[in-house]
């Protein structure tokens, strides 16, 4: 009881601090654990069991999220970005670790630890900034899913590496066998889960029994338990079963996540200066190499320049799975506590840095350094034109009606597909960030007759309004607060939430459930 109370109290402090500093709680939970360790109040066996239970739920929930449908149209981009980041970071990590004097096996563990970015930190930031469903948000989510999968599948191979190729081969077979079992069981489990929706207790028990049963199976196949937990989650990853299970498991997951990271923090030894330097060097590799690498590939894969940079900055940290990799290395006796501590510190540092690094200001600054290929098909009108910013595919009908009225138009959009289509129609357009002042300059924004902006972020609209003072600007906004704010800054807000409600009531009055039956 005392142990749990202590872990929870530390976690509560971490959550409070995370709320106050407006950053994701994971690094703070780890830090709270580190501070807790020297008190010596946590028995080793209790910590060990907390870690096992915590990691089970963490990986199970990770597996549940593994649904490619979340990535939607961005699968190709996510695959390319994810693989390149994974391989390049592994290579860079390996080289850096060897240069730092680690033996080859330790360097391998460190390299694997550097390959993945943190789902917990990144998704939270995306949600916070309401970017989950922007194209770049989907790419980032896809990258995270891919990396989680790769790391989990590589852990059993890594732990068998020193035992020779035969053992590795057996590992591959065992993972394959478990995978097949996962696939078979998902076929009966998914309908069973859906049938039990709403009947909470049996649903929970069946799902938990499945989780622990699968872990037990992994144990019997001599695979790491986390592989079992993860695959058990994957078995339930199709919608709507995933949604049903996620809602049922959310609070148990929250509880064990908090306990897990705090307990993990308590395992991190207070490092010596040399260890800190090694960790700093590896953290630098992650933070410096990831953004340009990801931005480069993401842009080639079809993202706009700024979203590509933002994706790069957002992915520049190591993952909670890096810690799991380290734990396994230690448990298997293949790496020593120092290597684990290095992994933990790298994770701590990079997770702490992410909210600051991924701030928009830095993205804008980096965009300045970025050579934007200028592909102006048609010279934009010099003055009195209608300028559409971020038209997107939803803007097409509007564009067509403006054109038929004989009005001159220019368009800025960061979606290459939209730009290609406009190019075919010989409409003057520029591919780029609509809030980028250079881009605005190229389309003669200051001399436009009127500007229509569908830019979503308020700060971007503020930049625009400041820049084109005097030109009427119509801004599409969803929230009432944003509308007030646009009005104050001199723009004309159009509340599309209001439009949606109006349209809804047209439907409702005509054919909604209220209109149908008289009694």
């Amino acid at each position: 009881m005392h142990g749990i109370a202590l872990l929870l109290a530390a976690a509560a402090a971490a959550y409070g601090l995370a709320r106050a500093m407006d950053i994701p709680p994971v690094p703070l939970l780890l830090a709270a654990g580190v501070l807790l360790a020297p008190t010596g109040l946590l028995p080793a066996e209790f910590l060990q069991d907390s870690l096992i239970l915590g990691v089970s739920f963490l990986l199970f929930q990770g597996g549940i999220e593994l649904n490619p449908a979340r990535v939607r149209g961005q699968r190709g981009a996510a695959l390319r970005v994810g693989l390149v980041q994974f391989i390049a970071l592994a290579a860079l990590g390996l080289i850096a670790a060897v240069l730092l004097g680690f033996d080859l096996l330790s360097a391998g563990y460190l390299a694997l630890a550097l390959t993945a970015s943190s789902t917990l930190v990144t998704v939270r930031l995306l949600q916070r900034r309401r970017q989950m469903f922007e194209p770049f948000g989907r790419v980032v989510v896809g990258v995270l899913l891919l990396q989680d999968l790769l790391v989990i599948l590589l852990i059993p191979l890594m732990t068998r590496l020193p035992l020779g190729p035969l053992a590795v081969g057996q590992g591959v077979l065992a993972v394959g066998a478990l995978g097949i079992l996962m696939w078979i069981s998902s076929r009966w489990l998914t309908p069973a889960v859906l049938a039990m929706d709403g009947d909470e207790e049996p649903l929970l028990l069946v799902v938990l029994a499945f989780l622990f049963g699968f872990m037990l199976l992994a144990g019997w196949l001599d695979l790491p338990l986390v592989v079992g937990a993860f695959l058990a989650g994957v078995a339930l990853s199709t919608f709507p079963a995933s949604g049903v299970v996620r809602s049922q498991l959310a609070s148990i997951g929250d509880f064990f996540t908090a306990v897990f990271f705090t307990a993990l923090g308590a395992l991190i030894a207070v490092p010596e200066p040399g260890v800190i330097l090694e960790a700093l060097a590896l953290a630098a590799v992650v933070v410096v190499a990831t953004p340009p690498l990801v931005a480069f590939v993401a842009e080639r894969a079809g993202l706009g320049a700024k979203p590509a940079i933002e994706a790069g900055l957002l992915l520049a940290q190591t993952s909670e799975l890096s810690l799991v990799v380290g734990l396994y290395g230690v448990a298997e006796g293949q790496i020593d506590g120092e290597v684990f501590t290095v992994i933990a510190i790298v994770t701590l540092i990079t997770m702490f840095l992410t909210p600051t690094l991924s701030h928009e200001r830095l993205a804008w600054r980096l965009l300045r350094l970025h050579p934007v290929p200028s592909r102006v098909t048609q010279p934009p009108p010099v003055r009195d034109h209608v300028l559409l910013l971020g038209s997107g595919s939803t803007g097409m009908p509007l564009l067509e009606t403006i054109l038929t009225s004989g009005q001159e138009v220019a368009v800025v959009d960061d979606d290459p597909a939209v730009i290609a289509r406009l190019g075919e129609l010989e409409i003057p357009c520029v591919r780029g960030e609509a809030a980028d002042l250079e881009v605005l300059d190229r389309v003669n924004a200051r001399s436009a007759r009127v500007i229509s902006s569908t830019i979503r972020r308020p700060e971007d609209n503020r930049r625009l309004l400041d820049y084109v003072r005097g030109v009427p600007v119509i801004v599409r906004v969803f929230d009432e607060e944003d509308a007030d704010w646009i009005r104050e800054s001199g723009g004309t807000p159009v509340l599309y939430s209001e439009a949606a409600a109006e349209r809804f009531f047209q439907w409702y009055d005509r054919s909604g459930p209220g209109s149908a039956a008289p009694g």
Binding site: G213, I252, L327
Partner: protein, 542 residues
């Protein structure tokens, strides 16, 4: 990380529990019975489980969290609504049952200590079983449902005091004497007073502000509440009180907050998980040989519970003017032993006040009575008719029969997500004279709405149930959360309720349509028309 023992234990316990639960469901056997039977199968019969320290810790936390949950449900208004009838009937029933039980124990040849222990332990009815049954039958809001819950809450308070006293006695490790009891009582009351004082201070000055500040992060709120619970557990220990009472008081102090329903929903799965392990391991620990020895006694005690409790409660309740039906049903609902019966004798055995035979006796009796009582409750309508036909219910001559049952929503419209769109929708529905229920996870967004509101996350089935989704004529979501909208669409269309959700990005349309959405608000398209109008105002024909 490679230690399989814990995973193996949990895997086996949970699998057995899940299997027996699935068998028990169609037979309408309460989950507790299924779990204990699972434990009996695993433990004494096969010897597969060797309860590790962590499994025991999980069990302990499970009981604490159950009391935390009971506390969370016990807001001042609920206590007030239950009123005098529940308090008087509850206290009188517990006293009468204890005395009668003790007498029966003495007649059956037990010692005074054992007999009185059994009498008190078996005077409680099962909160978990009854509340879950009522929930499943949708009868929590009925007159008999509220009466039964009220009496259970009174019993819970008595249990809490009894457990505290027991812990106080146990701590001193001396022989029981009148002076001991007096000292124990004094110490318990002082500790209790201190604990309650701290809880009151917390509930009034600390919690509302702190939780409000944290309110935006529901998981943060959850972790803070659990920490509050464990802080009180430690505090209770420090004051020489039981873990359970600490958790209970912590729960009550949180029950007054706006967030308490959300907390209940979040603590619930944790309790289900931990308690399943507790009850299974209870079965595992049951001394099979002892259980075998005590079965005639257990049968006698079971018959005693099944007969005396319903009669006592029905008679007491009817004295407050309730009619024959609610009185009878409340009595029938409460005719079984309690999970606290087990906990109490287990604690008693732990401090050496009673032997293992008594633990086995209470466990077997509790188990039997819960099983039979569940069957009787299922057949309540028939039993009622038969008894009334025989004229046996004439003693219960109150006037207050079942009146209109609360204010259950039906034919209403559920609007989820109080962003600008959600608010417009609420306004539009109100103008059309519809009955609207607004749902959001942020109490601030619900604060100034002109309609009934519900705080909660629609991902939880319990929230949808509370919103009366099955009876709604339309469910609308303005949320800009992909997964939540998809899940809501799936659940609503499965119930055959028309559902309209916000497809905040056109790419979401196909999936939502496939899930059975009746109408989709594709806000970005809808906004285009307004942009065109605005362009028209500056002279651009669009």
């Amino acid at each position: 990380m490679t230690d399989l023992q814990l995973i193996a234990d949990l895997g086996i316990i949970l699998t057995a529990a899940a299997l027996l639960l699935l068998v028990a469901r169609p037979l309408r056997v309460p989950s507790i019975v299924a779990y204990i039977v699972a434990g009996l199968v695993l433990g004494p019969a096969t010897g597969v489980i060797h309860a590790t320290e962590t499994v025991e810790l999980i069990s302990e936390v499970g009981i604490a969290l159950l009391l935390f949950l009971v506390g969370l449900e016990l807001s001042i208004e609920k206590i007030r609504a239950v009123g005098k009838a529940a308090v008087v009937a509850g206290l009188a029933q517990v006293s009468a049952s204890t005395i009668l039980g003790t007498m029966l124990g003495l007649v059956l040849g037990l010692g005074l200590m054992e007999a009185s222990f059994i009498g008190l332990a078996l005077s409680f009815s099962s909160t978990v079983v009854v509340v879950k049954l009522l929930e499943r039958e949708d009868e929590l809001g009925t007159l008999h449902g509220r009466l039964a819950v009220g009496i259970l809450l009174v019993q819970d308070i008595v249990v809490a005091v009894a457990l505290t006293l027991l812990a106080g006695l146990g701590a001193s490790g001396e022989e029981l004497g009148p002076a001991m009891v007096a000292e124990g009582l004094l110490r318990a009351s002082l500790g209790m007073a201190a604990l309650v004082a701290i809880a009151v201070i917390g509930a009034r000055w600390i919690l509302p502000r702190a939780m409000d500040w944290m309110g935006r992060s529901l998981e943060g709120l959850f972790i803070w509440s659990l920490t509050w619970c464990f802080a009180f557990i430690l505090l209770a220990e420090l004051l020489g009180l039981s873990v359970e009472i600490g958790a209970f008081v912590a729960g009550v102090s949180l029950a007054q907050l706006t967030y308490n329903h959300e907390l209940v929903r979040r603590v619930n799965p944790l309790v289900d998980f931990f308690l399943a392990i507790f009850f299974v391991s209870l079965g595992v620990h049951l001394d099979a040989a002892a259980a075998f020895r005590v079965w005639p006694l257990a049968l006698a005690l079971t018959a005693f519970i099944l007969l005396t409790k319903p009669v006592l409660i029905a008679m007491l309740v009817s004295r407050f003017g309730y009619g024959s039906q609610p009185s009878f049903l409340a009595g029938l609902l409460l005719g079984q032993g309690s999970e606290f019966s087990f906990i109490m004798v287990a604690l008693g055995a732990g401090v050496g006040l009673v032997g293992n035979d008594v633990v086995a006796l209470v466990a077997v009796t509790g188990l039997l009575s819960i099983g039979v009582s569940a069957g009787l409750i299922q057949a309540r309508a028939r039993i009622f008719r038969v008894l009334r036909g025989a004229g046996l219910l004439r003693l219960l001559r109150g006037l207050r029969e079942e009146g209109p049952v609360g204010t259950e929503l039906a034919g209403h419209i559920v609007v989820v997500g109080m962003n600008t769109l959600g608010r417009r929708l609420v306004d539009g529905f109100m103008e059309r004279g519809e009955l609207v229920l607004a749902v959001d996870t942020d109490p601030r967004k619900l604060a100034d709405l002109p309609c009934p509101t519900l705080l909660g996350n629609t991902d939880h089935p319990a929230v949808l149930e509370e919103a009366g989704m099955a009876r709604a004529k339309l469910v609308v979501s303005a949320l800009q959360i992909e997964d939540a909208n998809a899940l809501l669409t799936h659940r609503a269309s499965r119930l055959g309720v028309p559902v309209s959700v916000h497809a905040f990005d056109p790419s979401l349309v196909p999936e939502l349509e496939a899930l059975g959405a009746t109408y989709l608000m594709v806000s970005k398209y809808d906004g285009i028309r307004q942009v065109a109008e605005a362009l028209g105002r500056v002279g651009v024909r669009a």
